[in-house]
């Protein structure tokens, strides 16, 4: 559906986007992930034809943004970050305005507006000026306006930024609902969001692609290492390290006095795929230590992300 080839954008001497290529398949939800300033917004702006690339090419369907900008805009709906809608307009008027510019026939307009409003749950604010509705509603009105044109592709820039946890869940829910029928590209710097919503994740760092893989595979592909965290009472750090070392599947044991007095916190690095939990437990049972905590930590997407995008 979308094919980005060697896309580069320079502002003066700054390379905001530096030769990135990726592909978005029809019906896929793609998350564009990266720290602030990584080039996510610039990439999305080029996807939607708002900015012209310095070099490289973007194919959307059968068109390219350079040769057929109007055609691309017709099949793309774009919601910029923090939904900058006209504040003085009423919600309904804004939707009607968008419908007219999207070339929706006047006879069909009301029905389409009602559909979009129902999908995004904004029926109760239709009569209010946009300046007076909450950020969450604003974001949803923006989504409704995007959905009005029935675009094949939705491009959303940080659709959940600045929202409270309830609103975030609602927006994600709407995105997932929309994503069943459409191709969605959205950017975020929140990893759990990408994990919860996307089929595939592209991580951008300093204008380059740091990773590109299906969400499910991402963690495994990039290490997939897990850790065991233990908290022991009545133990000595050196003794713990000695006792737990050498178990098959254990790559390293680090024990240190915990913040709680008289207790020892232990971190055990596990080799990929191994599960030595039973053996570890048996070894501890053989001592007079008290086991207070014992749990498995999978490397989260957050950690993968931090590893990939760490400075220097």
């Amino acid at each position: 559906m979308i094919r980005v080839e060697e896309l580069t954008k320079t502002f003066g001497s700054v390379r905001a986007v530096d030769g990135i290529s990726f592909e978005v398949r029809r019906g896929e939800i793609l998350g564009l992930l990266g720290p602030n300033g990584a080039g996510k917004t610039t990439t999305l702006r080029m996807l939607t034809g708002f900015l012209a690339p310095s070099s490289g090419r973007i194919r959307v369907g059968d068109y390219t943004t350079a040769a057929n900008p109007l055609e691309v805009k017709k099949i793309t709906g774009y919601l910029p970050e923090s939904a900058p809608l006209y504040p003085e307009m009423l919600v309904f008027d804004f939707l009607a305005f968008t419908a007219d510019l999207r070339g929706i026939a006047p006879g069909e307009r009301l029905r389409r507006i009602e559909e979009a409003a129902a999908l995004c749950g904004i029926r109760e604010v239709m009569h209010l000026p946009i300046a007076e509705i909450s950020k969450g509603y604003k974001q949803r009105v923006g989504l409704a306006a995007v959905m009005l044109g029935d675009p094949e592709i939705l491009v959303l820039d940080e659709p959940t930024s600045g929202l409270d946890p309830n609103q975030i869940v609602e927006i994600r829910e709407i995105i997932r609902r929309i994503g069943k029928a459409k191709t969605v590209v959205f950017s975020t710097h929140i990893l759990s969001e990408a994990e919860a919503t996307c089929d595939r994740v592209v991580i951008i760092h300093r204008g380059k692609i740091a990773a590109d893989s299906p969400t499910a595979e991402l963690k495994e592909a990039l290490g997939g290492k897990s850790r065991l965290a233990l908290l022991l009472e009545g133990a000595d750090a050196a003794a713990v390290e000695a006792r737990l070392a050498g178990i098959p599947g254990v790559e390293g044991v680090a024990a240190a006095p915990s913040d709680e007095a008289g207790r020892v916190a232990v971190a055990i690095a596990l080799a990929g795929g191994a599960d030595p939990r039973a053996e570890i437990y048996r070894r501890i049972r053989g001592t007079d230590w008290t086991l207070l905590e014992f749990h498995l930590q999978r490397q989260s997407l957050e950690e993968v992300f931090r590893e990939l995008t760490r400075e220097g």
Partner: protein
């Protein structure tokens, strides 16, 4: 073209939803009212001459106040990003906004139609210069609106847009009077650029193609420059 009309309709309703529009209308009517009624009461003359004579200067600061928000505000709030990624051409956006400004200026001028009615009731009204004057006022206003739009497209600050627009419009109004220190050969062609002279010609009731063409070209150049500036922003 339909898209331009949609943009124009939105801009028109945006004008009347904001207090700035009403403030500009009130200030305009106060200022031109002063010119009209001072000749009426102080000099006992029922005449529109002072009103039309001052109009270019008054428009030089009123029209940029009308146009300053057009692009500057959109850049400032970011709504421009939505507008520009909707399926419409740059020309539609510029034309729609230009039409809305012109409609607003017509609404601004409409209350002053009371003056010719008053003059007609009190004395002799020469209808030719009145028609010419209002036609000229619309042409002048539209051309200045194009200039103001260009100024607005340059910046995200409405104040900067206003001051830039004022500077260009004032220069166009005063260029014939400022050119006196230049050699004759340079001053004469420069005087042709003077908006107030072309306006005065039309306001005398003489609708000459040269004067109409002047305003049309000024508008065209300014609108093209606006489109060019906007296009550059996406490059």
């Amino acid at each position: 073209m339909r898209a331009a009309w949609t943009v124009c309709r939105r801009e028109c309703s945006a004008y009347f939803a904001s207090p700035i529009a009403y403030i500009v209308i009130v200030i305009f009517l106060l200022v031109v009212g002063w010119f009209f009624f001072s000749t009426l009461f102080l000099f006992n003359q029922a005449s529109l001459r002072a009103f039309f004579r001052m109009l270019p200067i008054v428009f030089a600061f009123v029209v940029p106040a009308v146009t300053m928000r057009q692009f500057a505000e959109e850049f400032h709030t970011g709504s421009y990003e939505i507008l520009f990624t909707l399926p419409l051409r740059l020309a539609d956006i510029v034309l729609g906004k230009f039409l809305a400004c012109t409609v607003f200026l017509a609404a601004l001028l409409a209350p002053t139609l009371a003056y010719p009615l008053l003059v007609g009731a009190l004395g002799d009204l020469d209808i030719g210069p009145v028609i010419g004057g209002y036609l000229g006022a619309l042409l002048l206003g539209a051309a200045f609106a194009a200039v103001g739009l260009f100024a607005s497209a340059l910046t995200r600050s409405q104040i900067v847009a206003f001051l830039t627009g004022c500077a260009i419009c004032f220069a166009l109004c005063l260029v014939d009077q400022m050119a006196f220190f230049l050699p004759e050969a340079a001053a004469r062609p420069l005087a042709h650029l003077a908006a107030d002279l072309h306006f005065e010609n039309i306001a005398r009731g003489l609708v000459d193609t040269r004067d109409v063409l002047y305003f049309a070209s000024l508008g065209f150049v300014a609108l093209s420059a606006t489109a060019l500036v906007l296009h550059e922003k996406h490059a």
